[in-house]
Symmetry: C2
Subunit: 402 residues, 2 copies
């Protein structure tokens, strides 16, 4: 029997308990031993909860119990999760987490401490909820040189953009509706401005290159500037708009960013709608592969945490391979990255724009007083220069089909 | 250093050599040791080949060399692959294979022999080419009770159906063109009649239920009966036609089949076109997840074989978990499975059909002399009975969106 503790009895934590209860048979079979929840750490009381007798308020009870081999950290946030995790790992207890902020901020240090103490720090649930993506990157694509990862990594923004596209509604009203339905937080900044996706792509980028990609270094642009008119144009040119998180190695330079992109119908991410997430991975032998599913939610996220528990249970006393060095990866500024751009200019700027951008594909969408087009491929700094000379209303980057 | 042998220097075998050569650095890092190709078994000579000096013609040289720890079996077919594999495993050498026929036929026996001899029989490349699907099922979805797997598992038929849909061409001419382009074999039966997909879903079904699903027991229907007119109707009702391989547990009964299905635009498999493959997996906690990519081809398939080599290299002397018992899974005949059906009848049968099927959704597609509709959900045996009473031109099963 392997005794575990759950730290944080909120949405994900209670999901972990539920998954272990409901799929006991499968989980014990795959673990090779019975998994028993011994403690649940939370500041609150849960009178009447079937696990009431497992609730503890003092982390020392967990950290001091040599019988506890695996801990699920489902508290979220940096403090006190960071200290608790570090102390657990130093005590040789494996930690399985859904805490993307902690992983993105202290991942390499915590992995190193785990390995030094013959235990593991696993974080499948930190990216893409229940979609298996960390393990496929670490264990499956081992014969590949992965050179690009592009994902829809935030369900809230994808829900809003899908809804704006489908119903012709504006950003503000769609956000309000998403908030009412519980798909967006009351304070939606972390999702809407791309910060959540940024932490997730920082984690995936780090695993891609084996070095540490700091999320603070990743260019991040949210969706609050996207309007219904943008969708009118997107539709007119057979495209849609998605918030993409991307990491790409090109000629030895590493780019990472989060921003809204226009993609066309043949892109695998085109059909990823609503609260679904997906991650496209490009390898030099396999080409493109994609991993798709529910990127959030209590049970999907909890399922990923528990799959880490099973992995830890099968590797008690052994280190599970994970290459994520503390050495910082050198990101190249996205102004050096080349791509095409969708551009809107005021009608009276048409000739000036055509002069500045030379070759363009005009989009006919009959928006009064405007003129819109897609540029040729060019470095972002060159685009910015030409856009400044022209004076534009807005621009959205184009992500080419794979 | 870990010495390996490649048995069969054809398309996949030479791909394995190429992947190991090109991604040496990544592969050695992830293996934890240098991987060296010591022997390549083939009956032919390869004068001038850079690996000419590794070529051997006698399997005994490989089986008798205690230095060989891992063997890639890329010969295909049952004989002599079965005997070679068995002897290798009995000698404690792990075997990584792309041979779906062998895995589907002798999987549980070979896995058991491997485990008894503290080595492994891995087969990631046998399903979905380079798409990671075996490992996600075995190592990632460990907290799930997987109750359905639905895949597009054959690139040739998917290429033909995509082309028929896009270009309005007939089956015969599209098949001929696919043969000319090398996307279909000269003898296309194994692909076109669904036999290839059948072996693959047998493997996935076995992993889903942990028992042995015999491919001979799986109802298999190919695409040679699909006509351009079927696509006219599919288009008229917002659907397309795909050859799906499916395994589903429903109320304790296990169904498995391969057949053309109509699916609509919101189904994740709708956008899987051309030679791409994809597998949807439904778990009771995660809901649906999907794995997408190139299902065939030299390098993608070889990449999957080499990912197995890396896994074996990290587990020398240790057994990698795989639950696939020799005990036979009891399949329920598909006549008990319920679904909706697309049906074509001659115009003069219209009233008879409406009487027999009662509630139907008529499809307006203006095909002269015909009348077509989609039935309500009913068991296949009930459908067959009503269809017999009516006299129909043809039917295609409907796969509902997830």
């Amino acid at each position: 029997m392997i005794q575990i503790a759950v730290m944080g009895y909120g949405t994900v934590g209670s999901g972990v308990v539920e998954v272990i209860e409901k799929n006991k048979e499968e989980i014990n079979k795959k673990s090779g031993e019975e998994i028993e929840i011994r403690y649940i750490l939370d500041l609150r009381e849960f009178p009447g909860d079937p696990y009431e007798d497992k609730i503890v308020h003092d982390v020392e009870q967990i950290l001091g119990d040599p019988g506890i081999k695996i801990i699920c950290e489902t508290m979220g946030g940096l403090r006190p999760a960071y200290d608790f995790t570090k102390r657990a790992l130093l005590a040789g207890k494996s930690v399985c987490t859904s805490n993307k902020e902690l992983v993105a901020t202290h991942g390499p240090e915590l992995i190193r401490i785990a390995h030094e103490n013959k235990c593991n720090y696993l974080f499948e649930a930190s990216v893409g909820g229940g979609i298996p993506i960390i393990r496929p990157l670490n264990y499956s694509l081992t014969a590949e040189r992965v050179d690009a990862i592009t994902g829809i990594l935030n369900g809230t923004t994808n829900y809003i953009l899908s809804k704006m596209e489908k119903e012709g509604a504006g950003f503000e009203e769609t956000l309000r509706e998403a908030q009412e339905k519980g798909y967006a937080e009351r304070n939606p900044e972390a999702d809407v401005e791309g910060y959540d996706a940024c932490r997730k792509i920082a984690i995936l980028s780090s695993l891609m290159c084996g070095k540490n990609v700091k999320y603070q270094d990743i260019y991040t642009e949210g969706i609050s500037g996207i309007t219904q008119t943008d969708f009118v144009y997107a539709h007119a040119c057979g495209r849609t708009i998605k918030l993409l998180a991307q990491s790409r190695e090109e000629d030895g330079r590493l780019f990472a960013m989060v921003a809204p992109f226009m993609i066309n119908k043949s892109h695998p991410l085109y059909m990823v709608n609503g609260v679904f997430n997906a991650v496209c991975v490009h390898g030099n032998m396999l080409g493109d592969s994609m991993y798709y599913g529910r990127g959030a939610g209590k049970l999907p996220t909890a399922s990923a945490v528990v799959s880490d528990v099973v992995d830890c249970a099968r590797h008690i006393g052994k280190v599970i391979m994970c290459f994520w060095d503390a050495q910082e990866a050198a990101l190249t500024g996205i102004e050096k990255a080349s791509r095409r751009f969708f551009v809107r200019v005021a009608q009276e700027q048409e000739s000036k724009a055509l002069q500045a951008f030379e070759q363009v594909s005009v989009i006919k969408a009959h928006v009064p007083g405007e003129f819109a087009f897609i540029t040729e491929r060019m470095p972002e700094e060159e685009f910015n220069d030409r856009a400044r000379r022209t004076g534009i209303i807005s621009r959205i980057r184009i992500e080419e089909s794979m």
